[in-house]
Amino acid sequence: MNTLLAMIGGATLLFAAGLWLSLPRGRAPGRALGAVVVAAGLGLFSAQTVSLGSAIADVVFYLIAALTVISAVATISFRNPVYSAIWFALSLLGTAGLFLFNGAQFLGVATIVVYAGAILVTFLFVLMLAQPEGQAPYDRVSWAAPLSAVSGALLVGLLTFVLADVFQNPVVEERPVAQVSEAELADGVLADQHMATLGRWLFGRQLVSIEVIGTLLLVALVGAVAVVGQIHHRERGGPMHG
C-alpha cells in the first residue's frame, strides 16, 4: 500500500510539473522538458494498472492511449491555435482507436466522421476568419498555470489510487464467461451483428430520446443562425434588436 501511494504520488508530481512546464508561460523555457516529464508521469500512472492478459493487447492499448493523451497535452500547450486544432484531431483519432479497441465500432467511425470531419473543420474555418496575423500576445501567457496543473494532476492521482486500490483487491469476483447466457451474448455489446443490435436499441428503446435530440439539433441550428445573423444586421447599421 505504501509503495502504491509513493508511486502514485510521484506520478502526480511529475504530471503536474510537466503540465506546468509545457503550458505557455511567456518567454520562459522548458516546454520540451515539460513534454518529457509529462510522458514520465503518464508511464508511472500506467504502471499502476493491471495487465490485459496478453502482451500484444497491452502494447496496442498503450500505443493508442499514449497517442491520445500526449496529443491532448499538446493541444492545450501549443501557442498557435491552428496547431492546437491539428493536435486535437490526432487526439480524436486516438479516441476513435480506443472505441474500436473496446468493441464500439460504430462510435469509432462516428467520432472520426462527426468530430474530425465536421466539428474540427468548422473550428478551423472560424480560426481562419478570426485569427490575427502571427502569434497573439494572449496566446503566449496562461492564467494561473501552476495552480491548474497541480489541481488537475491531484484529481487524476486520487482517482488512480482509488482504482488501483479497488482493482488490485477486487471486492466482487469477476463473473466467468461461461455463466453468461447465449441470449445475453448475442444481444450484448460484443454481438456479431453490431450495427443491427445498436440500431434496434437506438430506434427501439431510445426512440423518444432520438426525437428529442433531433429537435435539439434544429434549435441549435436556429440559434447559431440567429447569433451570426445579428453580426451582419449590426454591420449594415440596422437596430440591434430589429
Partner: protein, 147 residues
C-alpha cells in the same frame, strides 16, 4: 480479455482526458482553445461511458455517447457563432477583453507580462482645453473600447 483490467485502463484514460481538458479551459485565454478543451472533456466522459458499457454488457453507454456526440455538435455550432460575434465586437479572441462582465467585488485583471504593441502612437492635434475633464469609470472605458 480481462474485462476488469480493460475497465480500469479506460477509466484512467477518461480521467486524464477530462483533467487535461479542464486544465486547458482554466489556463488558456484564446476562446477557440477553450472550446477545444471543452470538447476534450466530453471525449474523456465518452471513453469512460464506453468502458462501463462494455463492463456491464449494456448498450446504454454507447447510446449515451451517441447523444454526447450530438450535444457536442450543437455546442460547437452555437459556441462558434458566439466566438465569431465576440471577435467582431472586440477584434481579438482574448477572453480577458470581456472581463467587464465580472462581478462587482472582483478586482480588475491587468496583465503585466503582455508585450508592448509595435508602432508609435499617432500624433494628435493639440486642442485648447475647454472646461474640466470629466472623470470616467475605468471599467466603462474598457467596456466602450469594444462595444
Amino acid at each position: 480479455m480481462a474485462e476488469v483490467a480493460l475497465l480500469e485502463k479506460y477509466l484512467l484514460i477518461g480521467a486524464l482526458l477530462f483533467r487535461i481538458g479542464l486544465v486547458g479551459f482554466f489556463t488558456r485565454r484564446n476562446t477557440i482553445i477553450m472550446f477545444l478543451s471543452i470538447e476534450m472533456m466530453l471525449q474523456g466522459v465518452s471513453v469512460s461511458l464506453v468502458a462501463w458499457g462494455r463492463y456491464h454488457n449494456d448498450w446504454g453507454g454507447q447510446i449515451l455517447v451517441i447523444f454526447i456526440l450530438t450535444i457536442a455538435a450543437c455546442e460547437a455550432a452555437i459556441a462558434l457563432a458566439v466566438v465569431l460575434s465576440l471577435f467582431h465586437k472586440a477584434g481579438a479572441l482574448d477572453i480577458a477583453l470581456w472581463q467587464t462582465l465580472r462581478e462587482d467585488n472582483q478586482p480588475a485583471f491587468t496583465d503585466p507580462k503582455m508585450p508592448e504593441p509595435r508602432g508609435d502612437d499617432p500624433e494628435w492635434p493639440k486642442l485648447t482645453p475647454a472646461g474640466i475633464e470629466p472623470t470616467a469609470d475605468p471599467d466603462e472605458i474598457i467596456h466602450r473600447m469594444h462595444v
